[in-house]
């Protein structure tokens, strides 16, 4: 395990602790800079770093339009839907495992039971998760993650962040996602090429799922940055409160 000065931490594939430290250290550095920079900026209380985020969104949008979106579209156009569904199911199966863990962390044992039941069924009888038998049987996905667990525990979401390639997030959700990646099964692989291929396929799978949402945003939004931010924050709030968010206080 190598660790140098902050921001230069290297991590070896499979060495999840060093990645974790790298992510946390960098996260703290970014956060510290952002907090100092953000004090005087931004009229939106959930998005104090709006100017910085807008710049990052511009970068993201350029890369997405030029590369990621066309690749995801080609994936949808040329890969049969049976295979795409199988790919989604395999990744979702892993997410269900983490959803179950987060269900337990939030004391939602019913939900966690469903999630673990799903994993057992789909892994055992659905060819390692290729087929989503559990959904066919009506066992619903819990859809919990670390960001929601932190929210459930009472951590504030923190400033909104737009990270190129990753998309909209908050300090809380971004931390959750980092933990998810560090503890995810792919991080335990020793083959770096295989590891990055899996991340790549998972990424395109997610992006393909969001293609119709993107075209909806293109039509519906007056300003895409604001539209995406508000939709993301509303959606996360809805998930943290399991579909029953308390009414939001009106802005003065």
């Amino acid at each position: 395990m190598t660790s140098k000065a902050m921001g230069e931490v290297q991590w070896k594939p499979g060495d999840s602790w060093s990645l974790c430290r790298a992510v946390l250290q960098r996260g703290c550095a970014v956060l510290a800079v952002a907090l100092v920079a953000g004090c005087a900026l931004g009229p939106n209380r959930e998005d104090p770093f709006e100017p910085m985020n807008r710049t990052l969104y511009g970068v993201h949008d350029a890369v997405d339009t030029a590369v990621v979106r066309p690749v995801a579209q080609a994936y949808v156009d040329f890969v049969p839907s049976l295979i795409r569904t199988g790919v989604s199911n395999v990744f979702n199966n892993i997410n269900d495992l983490f959803s179950g863990i987060n269900g337990i962390l939030q004391g939602k044992l019913d939900k966690a039971g469903d999630d673990f039941g799903r994993v057992v069924l789909n892994t055992g009888f659905g060819l390692g998760g290729l087929f989503d038998l559990a959904s066919m049987m009506g066992i619903e996905r819990g859809n919990e993650d670390f960001g929601q667990t932190f929210g459930f525990w009472g951590f504030p979401q923190g400033p909104y962040l737009f990270i190129p390639l990753l998309g909209p997030t908050t300090v809380r959700d971004g931390t959750g996602l980092a933990l998810r990646l560090v503890w995810g099964p792919a991080s335990y692989l020793n083959n770096e090429a295989l590891q990055w291929s899996l991340y790549g396929i998972g990424y395109i799978d997610l992006r393909a799922e969001a293609l119709s949402a993107s075209s909806l945003v293109d039509t519906a939004a007056l300003d895409r940055y604001t539209f995406i931010r508000n939709a993301y924050l509303q959606r996360r709030r809805y998930l943290v409160y399991d579909g029953k968010p308390p009414p939001e206080p009106e802005e003065p």
């Binding site: 119709s212 895409r224 604001t226 939709a231």
Partner: protein, 211 residues
Amino acid sequence: MRKFDSVARLRAAAVLLLTVALCAAAPAFAQEAPDAIVKRVASDVLATIQADPAIQAGNEARIREVLEVKLLPNFDFARMTALAMGRNWQAATPEQQKRVTDEFRALLVRTYSGALNNYRNETIDYKPLRMNPADTDVTVRTLVVRATGSPIQIDYSMAKQGDTWKCYDVIVAGVSLVTNYRDEFNNQVKAGGVDGLIKTLADRNKGVAAK
């Protein structure tokens, strides 16, 4: 003379019968529950779309026509616009209010017809609605199950208006349409007044891309 009488009497009887029938039917319509309205309208729109060859071939203008006739009368666009504008609604003149409403309505129709063009092989699960007879504001919950991808929850906020119910917000996967536009509308008004908002909406409806 006698013949005319009997025709007149028949006609009167028919009118009477029709009136009685309508009176009997009217309460049935008036009492159509909000979830029943959502179910009736949604299944009607989807069935029409699935049966229309022009729409299946990707004709968005035809989708818009169907929406105009079957779907839109069930929405309260003025209320949606007022909610999205917040305090700026009161500050706008009636003429401005009408223009924002018209443009916002057109934008939502464009968005919705585009979305319908994307998803066609979908089925809708209607969740049972628990409401009291005295309720005047309810949320009807539905789950749209797609051929591929995970199901999407779509809820409709409905308010009672006289004998019927009108939808004033659509909540897609927890994202309220009206709430989502609140910031956008506010920013537009801050930057260019209500007329600025009208212009931006009109530009978007003419196909000018957003930033």
